[in-house]
Symmetry: D2
Subunit: 451 residues, 4 copies
């Protein structure tokens, strides 16, 4: 690694969550100033969640600098309290600081607008794109990283890809308690205005320590870690899996499907041609095409489609732009079999069920419940005793044991709000409406034939 220039004096960015983001290296400043990184300002961190929690309008830019800042603080703490002076892999080698901080800053750089929905429809992959942004010689990010050393872009990419040899660095960025999760929980709690995500970051940073296989937590800080796990659980239950946000994502999904269908049938043309989306509709896009996308690009085309002749497309973009979510109920493996009956009633009421109903499973969402016994076990959280003994967290915390391995999501069936709140037009089919009600109780699907 070539000589890295420390800034003569820290630069700071004012941040509502961490108060200040401290930029100490020129390379970090240069990365922030790249076109690819600035683009993250135009992509919301939480996608459709701001339809449920109106304050949650923050971008991936703010989250990314926050992850960087937490990583910087971890490095500072490790360098002061656990410095490796003799190359011991038990302790922290501060030469790893820069690769850790760059990986932290750039870990989300491949994200596009409403990633989960967009990727599903257009077969994009934000992880592959992250890697490409880092390693392709054409990006500004790569240009900055190469100034550190020719191998540096690959090193940073390997931290994000979890193949970097030093597990301490990898776990700082991606593990059960990493800088990424800690920042997003705090930041999303701050902007949504919920209090569930407010764990004690300072205390967790104090009890983190490096060890041979990564990062462990001192026993006397066990409860702060436990509290973090509970916060995460609550945020998923209360915020990330909120049925209204999922309902809005369902609409987005359906409208992009409809747009694709119409494009394939030659019906997205003229002023309604989505120029910047064509490469994706054609399934033939370059990195540059991808970097032209952001939330505003999608909503601009949706706005144009408000006047499209297709009834379904026009209706769906209006439901999305004007926030008219679908309604939903929980179902279980037992009640799942009732869904075709519901779809039939909905169709009778005049809604195409392909576009106006959906089942959506919050297990699909990227919930990362801490579960050391799962098939693909993630890194365990290790508690380290005074004498160096390690214990996996759920063996010492009954609360965490209670959550571990339990899925916290629910399966829901989505349908038009009109089925339960009929408007004047819909009163025509009132018997249909009454029939539909019989399937619903206490936010759940029930079998009306058994009651």
């Amino acid at each position: 690694m070539s000589e890295i220039s420390l800034l003569p004096r820290d630069k700071v960015l004012r941040d509502p969550v961490h108060n200040y983001i401290h930029v100490t290296y020129q390379v970090i400043l240069d990365l922030i100033n790249t076109s690819e990184f600035q683009r993250l300002r135009r992509i919301k961190q939480l996608g459709a969640s701001s339809y449920t929690f109106h304050g949650a309008e923050h971008s991936r830019f703010t989250h990314s600098v926050g992850v960087y800042e937490i990583t910087r603080q971890i490095c500072d703490n490790f360098a002061r309290n656990y410095p490796s002076t003799n190359g011991s892999t038990e302790l922290w080698d501060d030469h790893e600081r820069l690769v850790a901080m760059c990986a932290a800053l750039l870990h989300d750089i491949g994200h596009g607008p409403y990633s989960h929905t967009f990727e599903h429809i257009f077969n994009t992959d934000h992880e592959a794109i992250t890697r490409e942004i880092l390693t392709s010689p054409d990006t500004e990010v790569n240009h900055v990283l190469r100034q550190v050393s020719p191998e540096f872009p690959e090193e940073v990419a390997s931290v994000i890809g979890k193949t970097y040899p030093n597990p301490q660095v990898v776990q700082m960025i991606s593990s059960q308690i990493d800088a990424d999760r800690m920042d997003y929980l705090l930041r999303d709690a701050y902007h949504t205005g919920t209090k569930y995500g407010m764990f004690d970051l300072t205390r967790i940073l104090r009890v983190m320590r490096p060890y041979r296989n990564g990062i462990a937590f001192e026993a006397n800080g066990m409860h702060a870690v436990e509290d973090y796990i509970v916060c995460r659980f609550q945020m998923y239950q209360q915020v990330y899996f909120h049925p209204v946000s999922r309902a809005m994502e369902v609409i987005l999904n359906k409208l992009l499907h409809r747009a694709k269908f119409l494009y394939e049938h030659g019906q997205l043309t003229g002023d309604q041609k989505p120029t910047l989306l064509i490469p994706f509709l054609e399934n033939d896009f370059t990195l540059s095409d991808y970097l032209h996308l952001d939330d505003g690009v999608l909503t601009t085309y949706f706005t144009l489609w408000r006047d499209h002749p297709d009834d379904i497309l026009r209706d769906l973009v209006s439901r999305f732009l004007d926030r008219r979510p679908l309604k939903s109920v929980r179902f279980t493996p037992e009640t799942r079999s009732l869904i075709p009956e519901l779809k039939q009633i909905i169709e009778e009421a005049g809604f195409n069920p392909d576009y106006y109903t959906a089942i959506n499973d919050s297990y699909d969402l990227p919930y990362d419940a801490y579960d050391p016994s799962s098939k693909e076990p993630k890194t365990q959280i290790e508690i380290i005793e005074q004498d160096g003994t390690l214990e996996e967290l759920s063996t010492v915390s009954p609360i965490v044991a209670a959550i571990s391995g339990k899925s916290t999501g629910d399966e829901r069936f989505f349908f038009p709000r009109e089925m339960v709140k009929p408007t004047s037009d819909l009163q025509l089919f009132e018997p249909l409406y009454e029939k539909f009600q019989k399937y619903l109780r206490n936010d759940s699907l029930i079998n009306p034939h058994e009651v």
Copy 2:
């Protein structure tokens, strides 16, 4: 006024600033659900300020519901403590509640993307448009308001237009201490992460009271009012007038000018035609055209113009999208005469001064320093003593007297950052660069011939 339906139970929206927004009337819920109001989600409250304070990405939607909530709380307080039972105009008639709350919610509904810059270039007027949205029979907002009574849309519009007969209602929405300013100061402070805007809302609400000519503040709460004035002063100085935000607005202004120029010369066509902006470029737009605009529409066209053949347009959109602000220095009436010399150097360095320099005066910005002695005096802040005597705030507060009538802005000259941080290419003109430096000291323009 027809019967107004109270909701059987409050609905709440989670809000990071007020914790919860309480919706108690069906009409308020219906207004929030209109297409015109939902559109405010896509327009940032602070425009270019998020380039300086990255957390400040909140929309006009969040501010608008916040202004509504503060107004609701004022009404609750007035109704409980100062009810007019005999028609006394000294006290509060709670029949005014609904018109006040609707005006609060809708006061910003006519705003478009980056209003101040956009209006300047395209001759739009958000106040006129607000009025049109309320009173035009074609909008969803008007449709909801008319359900209260046929005159209700005009009444709400007259509160916003300050012609409504009851001054208590008008001052609640627009005066030196109104629900609008109180919400934006708190909200902008919350999202920027600065602490300057954090005055004591609860205390101010407690000491507000109606009187014949509007709203006054009890003497024992004078210091809370004083603190609010200082917060406002600090927020203007520190946040709203920040030179970097103004520099980004200058770029936006210049790039829209360039786009207009190119359009007029037939050079914004094909894939780079800004369909949704055409009515404004043609200076012939409808309300519906206006309601199609949002921040994303602008940045989508800017993204398309990244590939435009015009060097200046291409460069300016990149400076805007990639956040590369101009630099600036303060100047005074004395040093203003040096600006032509600077422009000449800048032109020699290869920048067209029409597009790469600007003078920008923060006096132009909507700063509303409390100044009872100005030519167009705004409503004074009245302090009310135990025995009912009124005293204008600045006569009892030396701090407020110190701020009153003092302009807090500064005049700045903006120029390309390359003039002070030359890149490799620019080193070619190094003597120019040295010459330029001589004009700058301590963030101010100086006369190098005199030093």
Copy 3:
């Protein structure tokens, strides 16, 4: 109940936790101004915990007004959303408001200094004294309460004693989620500076509702309730059961024992006679004697005893006043049998084990883990579904199920710090010291013979 005078306008007390305490009735104001209530200013809420968390110096006065305020807010919410107009016991009868608020304010009025330790040694009983303060005709509190009605003192006492007929009122003040616990968790968290106690009070208040048998919580607020239970669990683990606070309480206990012993042997006389404690040392005290006690009275006598000729008393008061806590280790039923060996070593080192060792069991402390299956089951927390079905919380919350019925305390053996941190004098017995170490590992007692 006679006519109760509402204050013409609310009085407020500034409060760091609830922002303002709103006093709306004259009787509440009068109760706050009684001598018995003002005395709570001189008694710390958390006793010895401020030795561990230095910010936790707040008094029972602040907590008591906080419990009142939460109760007032619950009543407001019930009166607005669930008013009983026809005498239905499902809903809330607002005539109960005053008895509820008075009981809330006065529920802790019988507490004395360092209650748990003091009561143990002097056979006082703060619950009996609370009742006496309310119902004895000699107190100012009784005088104020009687102005409401002759039966009112007994009614308030019966709410605190849980025999009042309306279970809604009783559960407001004492149940698994009551105004008392909610205030102390928030307040203790605020003053200790820990974040564990910060649950979402506003949301819990919103989802509380009356029903026939007391108070239930709406299903859509289940997670806020769950979060409260976890906060409570964390506060007990992290704050209330902290080993250093318990070590200081052990010292207090031992020094009061020693003082009692010396008094009984005629050795607390002259300037060192604890005049205000004599009635308790004589086991013959009046209510008036009790009301003369406060934290300062105890520490004043301790200060006088700094010069007492008895070595043990002198040493113990100095350890208490100068904060020199005992050390401790956890033990289990298995390792308990090793304690006599440890005591013998300690005695060999020169410490009287009767005064310098203790076993202390945090199960003894008033931890009120939510446990519907215990022998003395407390009120269950009931979750109420949309259709009125009730479900006990732990049947719907895996987190709460994990905590329920699990004791969270630990048993500890306390001993002089000198045994592990020898001072110069103690190095004389260094082999003893080494022997002692062998019993300790990872904060636990181990069997050195087995290792």
Copy 4:
């Protein structure tokens, strides 16, 4: 200076204001553990203010560790950004760190209970006592300090006494913006629950820098400094000078006077003899006598005096312990001459004016308005420009100029509440009461003869 032992790892104390207090040196830990320092836990920071703001019960202990922590952070910042490597007195010599931190920690160690009132009556001097605690060979504090070097106690004392040669160190602890004031403003705001004291500590620490004559503030942080000055002004106006707190201090003053009078007349004997106060009543006390005092010692004797035969003493201790403040009105130089008339009415109503009236001037209180033009000018606040130019704050800040040199206090006349809120007994003298009212309007004394 001998070798100083850094702790192998930071110890932390949880703090509600600074989150954690970081103890990095053994000597700091040892000082905190001295008997003299632990005694500060038993002395309230704000004395009688907790009678007005009930949350303000925090002790001088918490403030003292807070001042230490801010000083530690300043030193860290100076050491990182302005290290003196060549002995330059423009920059920071980190060898000064320990003396600065010790002085910060110990600056208030000489305070006794209710210092301002106590000192006035008993001629004690907390500054002289601070010096004695540091330099007397008999104290634990001196013992710890001597372990650094024989001269160290004197050095620390000279920092507190402002005679230490390095002005940077002196100004860190005592100047217009020092660690002392910054901690108490933040801490008192936190515990009172007011928001006026909440300035931006982090930003101020960032813009502080050493220069030859002390400490200056960078021009770009001018507004944070300005905001601090306004906070200070507001806290004095709203909290420190609150008339109710001053009324309680007047009572304390009067009751100590009465006790002194009775002692001198042989009437404080037997069980009511204030053993620990005798040396002060005799005006012959040792340092040890002084170190035995705390808030609880005073209130314990007051409790004993509740049964004293002297009517005035008994009444005054009850007013103090039971919080029954005097009332007050503002007067001016013009209306001052009316006070004898008021006193006469009060005497006619049965109150001895020597014990039941007072004039109290908040100018006497230690308000330190920033005033460079005063006769005894304090250190100025210097703003440092990019090119090193210094400017005194009030020359660049109109807000500060408005406050500078203006006294913010008021003169008040205190009298028994019974004069304006007659109880049943007092209704006997109703005409007196009516006559008294005529002197009062809008919280001010007026001349009833002129109206």
